[in-house]
């Protein structure tokens, strides 16, 4: 296999880059060890930063966020909910930080408007009565799955290929250049070699590993962040704690739920990250200071991601490592056709892709300008189903009783699964349970797969997309994956749910044997 550019990693950065290059007429192959958004892109907070969070710590990142968030609101409105955001301080928070905040925002040209405390509590009744300061800022939320899938959709239409379940395990080099990447198919174990003119590692937290495979050096810091998802949406807006960025200080609405986070824990390796009971307990008590009902609401799951932070000299803790991105040209390591793009934010993915694509084009001697700054991200209906609330809205508009709801929590009928399966196939993918789950809201609702897991598996078998033996394996995998998120929040209502789920899958179906 040969391509002009090989991109490693199908997170938002890799897929954003694929789109950018495709729009400049350059053909790429994206290789991904898992599926789209397997890394931080699928495990983040979904906050489209206005930049205000970084005004005190990192003015450059603040400025990037401000500009990119504005662009995304304009060019990819289908992925964004313009919720607006609040910054609130509670009794005991640092007074001088509160006092400086409006000035810092002004300096960064971020519109932050001082609010009367009562007004703030009227806008967001969930807020504690112990709030002492409040500002409004233009924060918003973004659906990272839709963003990634729509980016790839346009890239694919322009000839880009995606190899899912292919892990890069090494490179062949000659004369100071990478010749080909050695891939292993993680499902079958088969080996594949892809030759390319240029190689870009957009492997997020795994960039250090990839660089080492090529004999280059990159020092990464792995910082794990966990988040907890509530059963219902607690606020209309994003609510940030008005203090120096710390743990447990942002509540982000996501359709019908709210997501609270995060923690930051140093990890040795970037794999097998799970949220823990301790982290969730910490989040709940920290969140309750701003939003008291966080003590009593029902949580449906938690999840954790790894932040790809690039190590800098002084060590002031992970919160002080820059959230800016870096583009590393490995020419300095003696490799002429290898770039790494890492760090940064979901919010700034487009800019990261643009800078990287500029450099790739320069290398290839292609002289076409970036188009993603002006051109809207097209909407393909096949990749809209990750949006919370879309399926129920459609169902209520056109209920069809011949079309059974396979997932009741999120109201997804069989026909939606059929169309998603068709679209996965059209892109050359295999529509297994995990792939379908990733492209819909299946398993994300209160039942966490208790019913939809078995039903969608049955549906896939029925259509002939899965055989029975694989069906068992996939269902088990799906359940184990959901479990990682459920385990730390199992008390109250969700413990009841998990007991029912275990009664079905173990008591009745005996899947544990």
């Amino acid at each position: 296999m040969h391509t002009q550019v090989l991109i490693i990693g199908a997170g938002v950065t890799g897929l954003g880059l694929a789109r950018d290059l495709a729009l400049r007429g350059i053909s790429c192959i994206v290789v991904e060890q898992g599926d789209v958004n397997s890394g931080a892109s699928g495990r983040n907070h979904g906050l489209l930063h206005s930049g205000s969070r970084y005004v005190s710590s990192d003015t450059e990142v603040a400025a990037e966020c401000l500009e990119e968030a504005d662009l995304l609101k304009k060019l990819a409105p289908q992925c964004v909910e313009e919720t607006g955001g609040l910054f609130v301080a509670v009794e005991g928070d640092d007074e001088s930080f509160i006092a400086d905040f409006p000035h810092l925002c002004e300096k960064a040209r971020i519109p932050a408007e001082a609010l009367d405390i009562d007004d703030a509590r009227e806008m967001e009744p969930c807020l504690s009565d112990r709030i002492i300061a409040a500002y409004a800022a233009p924060d918003a939320t973004v659906d990272p799955f839709k963003l990634a899938l729509q980016n790839f959709h346009q890239a694919h239409q322009n000839g880009t290929k995606l190899l899912r379940h292919h892990k890069v395990v090494g490179f062949k080099q000659s004369k100071g250049r990478l010749k080909s990447a050695h891939l292993v198919n993680t499902e079958t174990g088969g080996a594949v070699f892809v030759e390319a003119d240029q190689f870009v590692s957009a492997a997020g937290a795994w960039c250090g590993e990839i660089a080492r495979m090529a004999g280059a050096d990159m020092d990464m810091v792995y910082s794990k962040g966990s988040l907890a998802v509530t059963h219902s949406r607690l606020s209309e807006r994003v609510i940030n704690r008005l203090r120096k960025p710390a743990d447990g200080d942002i509540l982000v609405p996501g359709g019908t739920v709210s997501i609270f986070g995060t923690t930051s824990l140093r990890m040795d390796v970037p794999s097998d990250v799970r949220p823990t009971v301790r982290e969730v307990d910490y989040l709940v008590s920290e969140g309750a200071a701003m939003i008291p009902e966080m003590e009593t609401v029902r949580y449906i799951r938690a999840y954790a991601g790894i932040r790809p932070l690039i190590k800098s000299g002084d060590d002031g803790g992970d919160r002080s490592v820059s959230r800016g991105f870096i583009l590393v040209d490995h020419a300095d390591d003696g490799l002429d056709n290898f770039l790494t793009i890492s760090g940064g934010k979901l919010t700034t993915y487009r800019l990261m892709a643009e800078r990287t694509a500029d450099r790739v084009c320069e290398r290839l001697g292609v002289c076409r300008p970036c188009r993603t700054r002006e051109e809207p991200l097209p909407t393909d209906p096949a990749w809209e189903w990750t949006e919370p609330g879309l399926a129920p809205r459609e169902w209520i508009k056109h209920p069809d009783h011949e079309d059974p709801l396979l997932c009741e929590c999120e109201m997804i009928p069989a026909s939606v699964f059929d169309s998603v399966i068709g679209s996965i196939r059209a892109q050359g993918g295999t529509p297994n349970l995990k792939a379908v789950g990733l492209r819909t809201r299946m398993g994300k609702g209160a039942c966490q797969g208790s019913f939809c897991g078995a039903r969608v598996t049955g549906h896939l078998c029925d259509r002939g997309d899965l055989n029975s033996r694989d069906a068992q394996t996939e269902l088990k995998r799906f359940l184990q994956e959901r479990w990682k998120g459920e385990r730390p929040i199992l008390w109250g209502g969700q413990l009841i749910q998990s007991e029912l789920k275990e009664a079905i899958y173990c008591g009745l179906l005996g899947l544990e044997t």
Binding site: E402, S468, Q480, E499, E502, A503, C506, L508, L509, G510
Partner: protein, 441 residues
């Protein structure tokens, strides 16, 4: 304050209308005990209709047993605090005989091999080991044993049931298995088993179904269908379909919500009322307290007004988290009605394993009420919390019914044990119930 409602007095009040509570009410009735049953029936709706006795022990080894009684003996030796260790085998046998006799009388016959577990097909195309199955599912047990030519039928709209999925898992071992999808007869447009089952109560729909099945029957010697063969007259409906199709049919247990639980509920309600049990179904007990030393007072909140029950003895059969007998918050687990002491595995971080499917099961599932030999919950001092307070069913500690496959068995056995501990039968009752249901093996 409105006037307190006039109390209803009985000797024994049973809380919880799952299998444990319903069985306890049955056993009480057969012993001539003046009993009242109050409980919501929500959870029974999830039941599969299968009755497990014991199939897996010890969990660590995942050993499955053919002989459930031998398994129980082994379990009693290894886990002396298990509720099965507090009922004699003869009593468990008597309990099953009584229950199955009763259900048969109510038109819901079950089948078993008295001393052997049986294997039933699952919707995943696997097998589940259990003890008793509804008569209407027995053909599936036999068909699987004989691997005779068999047709599996499914319907478009029934979610989570794919004949093709089941058959393709079995084909390698059971070459004579085939599938057919047919439109569900009549104008039924529903996705729920209950709607389909109700539709088959009408003979016209049965004939239409039979005609479609006959058309694809081929050489099949039996036909398997999802368990939707009627709601109230299952026996008759399955016989009627058999006559119309010409070969025996069998039901395959489906995913919840199924109709198996509705059938059980219906049979129990009818039969218990006939036997003179006072029933408050669909009612929730809001509060319980002891008054003086000889009386439990229960406040019941219901749409039709409030009730108050007095009982000189109380039996909790209120289930676990799903049933509502236990409740967990971030820091601990409580019993919901009397705040009884709950045995549990310490901190929340230790409640569950890292893997959902860990064969050892989750420690939290062994949480529950610890009891003495007379099924009385213990207080902090290890003494019975009350002389005349009993507990039965899945609320009991030191068992893991989900993984051991002993859900119904445990509920029935402990209900029997608790009723027996309550006191001797009223004169004239004992001989009757024992003779009628004595185990013939």
């Amino acid at each position: 304050m409105p006037d307190a409602p006039e109390p209803i007095t009985s000797d024994l009040v049973i809380v919880g209308a799952g299998i444990a509570g319903l069985s306890a009410a049955l056993f009480a009735a057969e012993r001539g005990i003046d009993a009242t049953l109050v409980g919501e029936t929500g959870e029974i709706l999830f039941a599969s209709g299968l009755m497990d006795l014991l199939a897996v022990h010890p969990l660590e080894d995942g050993r499955t047993w053919e002989d459930p009684w031998a398994a129980i003996d082994a379990l009693r030796r290894d886990i002396p605090a298990h509720p099965y260790a507090r009922v004699e085998t003869a009593d468990i046998r008597a309990a099953f005989d009584a229950l199955l006799g009763f259900l048969a009388d109510q038109g819901l016959p079950y089948r078993r091999r008295t001393d052997r577990n049986v294997d039933v097909l699952t919707t995943m195309g696997g097998v589940k080991r259990t003890y008793c199955v509804p008569e209407t599912a027995w053909g599936g047990v036999r068909a699987m044993e004989e691997k005779a030519s068999c047709l599996l039928v499914d319907f478009d709209q029934l979610r989570g049931f794919s004949a093709r999925q089941i058959a393709s898992a079995l084909e390698p071992r059971w070459p004579g298995i085939r599938t057919a999808r047919i439109p569900f007869p009549g104008s039924t447009r529903g996705q729920y088993a209950e709607q389909l089952a109700l539709a088959l109560e009408a003979p016209g729909n049965r004939e239409a179904l039979a005609a479609d099945v006959r058309a694809c029957l081929g050489t099949a010697r039996s036909v398997g269908l999802p368990a939707v063969l009627g709601l109230y007259r299952t026996e008759m409906i399955s016989r009627d379909l058999r006559d119309r199709i010409g070969v025996p049919l069998f039901e395959i247990p489906i995913l919840p919500p199924s109709v198996a639980g509705l059938r059980l509920r219906d049979a129990f309600h009818r039969g218990l009322t006939e036997k003179g049990i006072r029933l408050f179904p669909h009612h929730r007990v809001a509060a319980v307290r002891y008054e003086q030393t000889d009386k439990f007072v229960l406040d019941i909140a219901a749409p039709d007004g409030e009730h108050r029950l007095h009982g000189s003895a109380l039996m909790l059969a209120s289930g676990r988290f799903l049933g509502g007998g236990l409740r967990a918050d971030r820091n601990g687990i409580r019993e919901t009605l009397l705040d009884l002491r709950v045995h549990h595995p310490g901190e929340r971080a230790d409640w569950h394993r890292q893997d959902f499917l860990d064969p050892r099961g989750h420690p939290v599932n062994a949480a529950g009420l610890e009891i003495d030999d007379r099924f009385r919950p213990l207080n902090d001092g290890g003494e019975p919390a009350h002389e005349r307070l009993f507990a039965a069913g899945s609320i009991l500690a030191h068992q893991n019914w989900i993984r051991s496959k002993c859900g119904v068995g445990l509920a029935v056995a402990s209900a029997w044990g608790a009723v027996k501990a309550y006191g001797p039968p009223t004169e004239g009752y004992a001989s009757l119930s024992f003779e009628k249901y004595i185990d013939k093996n």
